[in-house]
Amino acid sequence: MNMINIIWASFLLTGIIYAAINGNIDMITNSVITAAESSVNLSFKLVGVMCLWLGLMKIADKAGIVKIITTILQPVMKQIFRNIPEDHPAMGAIIMTISANMLGLGNAVTPLGIKAMQEMQSLNSNKAVATPAMCTFLAICTTGFTIVPATVIALRSAVGSVSPAEIVGVTIIVSLFTTVMVLIFDFFCRIIYFRM
């Protein structure tokens, strides 16, 4: 059985059992329903930004911007995503996602990332199982390399920091280091997974 099933079930079960032992079983019902409702709200919030950025991306695509950015970053990305053909739209979508992430285009990242996933899915022979390229892409996205962590800077300045942006340098160092480590780890996972 896949790991995600075990993680999902154990979050639920340990939570419910823990609440039962401590006598607050009554809060579980409330927690479950509130979470279900708020995740639907979240999806609906996504509809707006999805439409906005997918619309703008279509213009960018037709205007040839995607192609230009892709050509610039292609040499690096080709090494990371070897299974994706060079001229496939998946490559463009991946590169746009990573660029948007780096530039801190906040809510643009999720729509673009999903677009990239859809393009990669078209290369996938088993539609229910993630391809190695998808796993690598996901690894890069979860580290979310950003040059300007805008939310944190805003938060620091809101709580009265003398120098809210002083963490920018460290954040770049940490996320670069993390991205490299994750890519190495992903590389080994891929080897182990496909040898088994």
């Binding site: 619309g55 703008l56 962590p149 944190v152």
Partner: protein
């Protein structure tokens, strides 16, 4: 100086991106309005397709968190982690980071308020918050959108990234900010 550049940059980033896209569209004679609508029409269905995945994941994480099971785990882990130089006050943030973005932001705010944003802990908490993204959210949404139910090893890779980000934030901040 650095702050002004950064705030300006984050204020300008999205408007400028829109301007550049529209102008270059017009430049290459793209029917911008029609192209926008064509692209945007995919947005709704994608968001709806994500919904069941998001419900499943958020329900399970919220039960784990609201029941106090997560706090129990943190109380248990903190003393062990402080032996290897990880401050106890930062452990909740480290556990929350991959699970919930808003939850982690809330915990980071608490640390910043308690110790001050310019203290070492404040800086470390800021760096942790800024350097990685919410693994479970990204995993759920990205794979959900294309209907992938078997994420293979990517969950380990994501969590490994969170761990590296958490630990290296602590060590690198100590190295840079304690002199």
């Amino acid at each position: 100086m650095m702050l002004e550049v950064c705030t300006e940059l984050s204020i300008w980033a999205i408007p400028m991106a829109i301007v550049i896209i529209i102008l270059s569209g017009l430049w290459s004679k793209v029917k911008v309005y029609e192209a926008f609508v064509e692209g945007a029409s995919e947005g709704f269905y994608t968001a709806v397709r994500i919904m069941p995945f998001l419900v499943a994941m958020m329900v399970s994480i919220s039960v784990f968190r609201d029941s106090g099971a997560m706090q129990f785990m943190i109380n248990y882990l903190s003393p062990c982690l402080s032996l290897v130089g990880i401050p106890e006050v930062l452990v909740p943030l480290g556990i929350m980071k991959p699970l919930s973005g808003t939850g982690a932001l809330g915990l980071a705010t608490e640390v910043l308020n308690q110790f001050g944003p310019d203290s070492l802990y404040g800086r470390i908490a800021s760096t942790i918050t800024g350097s990685t993204d919410t693994t479970f959210y990204i995993l759920t949404v990205y794979f959900g959108a294309v209907g992938i139910t078997n994420p293979r090893y990517s969950i380990y890779v994501g969590l490994f990234g969170d761990m590296v980000g958490f630990i290296s934030s602590i060590y690198i901040c100590r190295l840079i900010f304690t002199n």
